[in-house]
């Protein structure tokens, strides 16, 4: 095997499934949690602190025999805006998609307002994204804005 191929295969290839590439290393576990990959029956391979020409350092997740729809994909855009989703069938790349920030964010971000009901009772958080560029989230419940710098994941 050529050295370059060996490098590529640090996390082994899959025949069918999804590769999520260019995840910031620190966000790999968070992405797995958002996509429910912690408790899945599918085979999941992941790596962190891998070399990336584009970003210097990256994380990667490969999920065997599992494909995601756009709604699921977009959920990871908040934690991993640089992520690319690659659909693999029979070792071939079928499609590549970039995660896009969704209009509604549910159940993954904590409301920044300590007096919000979502921080008191078991309420699934829900926000409308009112500014995708600067990432500003309007809470469905308390109507306060959580800004990019205050975003904390559940």
């Amino acid at each position: 095997m050529k050295p370059e191929s060996r490098k590529k295969l640090i996390v082994s290839a899959i025949q069918n499934g999804t590769v999520i590439d260019h995840i910031p290393s620190h966000a790999v576990i968070q992405v797995m949690r958002i996509l429910n990959l912690i408790q899945t029956d599918h085979q999941v391979l992941f790596g962190m602190n891998l070399d990336s020409k584009k970003y210097g350092n990256k994380g990667i997740i490969k999920i065997r025999d599992k494909f995601f729809d756009d709604v699921e994909i977009n959920k990871i855009a908040l934690v991993a805006p640089t992520a690319t989703l690659i659909e693999i069938r029979d070792f071939e790349v079928i499609s590549k998609k970039q995660a896009e920030i969704p209009d509604i964010v549910e159940g993954i971000v904590k409301c920044f307002n300590p007096k919000c009901i979502t921080n008191y009772e078991q309420v699934r958080t829900r926000f409308r994204v009112i500014d995708k560029q600067n990432l500003r989230l309007l809470c469905h419940y308390c109507e306060k804005i959580t800004k990019n710098e205050n975003i904390e994941f559940i």
Binding site: C116, V123, H140
Partner: protein, 304 residues
């Protein structure tokens, strides 16, 4: 607009036409406040924190329409003290009433309650977030005193930073080509997000620290209470507190149609010598709360 079986949670859920429909219906109840259209209906008033005007005006509204009221006026009297969640309390009370009116100190609690209740919810205040019935009764009062809501000069005075009533009123009045005159100490200016809302509607606002300067320029003065706990320096509070007390003498040179409003309770923002002046309108404003609440209850129960 069909409000039947819909909850009323936030002023942001309404458009201009909807405000006006509710105001028109409230005008009808102002003329006919006592009628038995709510006979056989039960309304629950769940007040997890104390209130005088809001709770009593809701209860008066129901009683005048022939309905029955159940509920509590203090969280200490409810199962909350036993550790029951809000969701469970609401689900339970949904079994006993046709409509729930609730006040709760936690922000967003009313929206959450509306998702778990099997009957409509009216938000009577959720912490510092929303108090839509207060906002509607303020619009009703402004229209009642001026004959219109359009093209008015309105001064908001006091704590413009934390006052939920002021934020809601500014948002609602932005539909009516209002010019806003904002009087506050430097520390308590209107938040930039609310000012941006004014600008995005192509409306004008002017900021002042001196109350007397604004009096001759406006049709409505909306006074609010300045709370001591907002100030880090107690000396600063004392200075500010006295500069925002409206007296009868200060009203010389006002416009003839000027009316003074206040959501109440008042502490010392309006001197008692103003109370008998024809420009004082805050107690009438509190009465209007009954008509607005009658209009909302009747609409939500499908009786109007």
């Amino acid at each position: 607009m069909n409000m039947k079986n819909k909850s009323l949670i936030s002023i942001n859920d309404f458009c201009k036409e909807e405000y006006l429909q509710i105001l028109d219906l409230a005008t009808y109840f102002e003329k006919n406040p006592n009628q038995k259209i709510l006979e056989g209906f039960v309304v629950a008033t769940l007040f997890f924190e104390p209130s005088t005007r809001t709770r009593l005006s809701f209860e008066s509204a129901v009683n005048r329409l022939g309905g029955r009221v159940i509920g509590f006026s203090d969280a200490a009297l409810s199962s909350t003290t036993k550790g029951e969640s809000l969701a469970d309390t609401i689900r339970t009370v949904s079994n006993y009433a046709d409509l729930i009116v609730m006040r709760h100190p936690i922000e967003g609690s009313a929206r959450w309650a509306s998702q778990v209740a099997s009957v409509p919810i009216i938000n009577a205040g959720d912490g510092s977030n929303q108090h839509p019935t207060q906002c509607l009764l303020d619009l009703f009062t402004i229209r009642q005193t001026q004959g219109t809501l359009d093209n008015l000069d309105i001064a908001f005075v006091g704590d413009l930073k934390y006052g939920r009533t002021i934020h809601s009123n500014v948002i609602a009045l932005s539909h009516f080509n209002t010019t806003f005159h904002l009087v506050s100490p430097e520390e308590l200016k209107l938040p930039s997000a609310v000012k941006m809302h004014i600008k995005s509607n192509n409306l004008q606002y002017f900021q002042y620290t001196d109350l007397e300067e604004v009096i001759p320029k406006v049709d409505i003065i909306y006074m609010t209470r300045i709370q001591r706990e907002r100030f880090a320096d107690p000396i600063e509070y004392e200075r500010v507190k006295n500069s925002y007390t409206l007296t009868k003498k200060m009203l010389e040179g006002s416009r003839e149609n000027l009316k003074i409003l206040h959501p109440l309770p008042r502490v010392n923002e309006i001197s008692v010598d103003v109370d008998l002046d024809p420009r004082a309108y805050y107690f009438k404003q509190a009465l209007n709360g009954v008509y607005i609440r009658q209009a909302l209850i009747a609409s939500i129960l499908g009786l109007a």
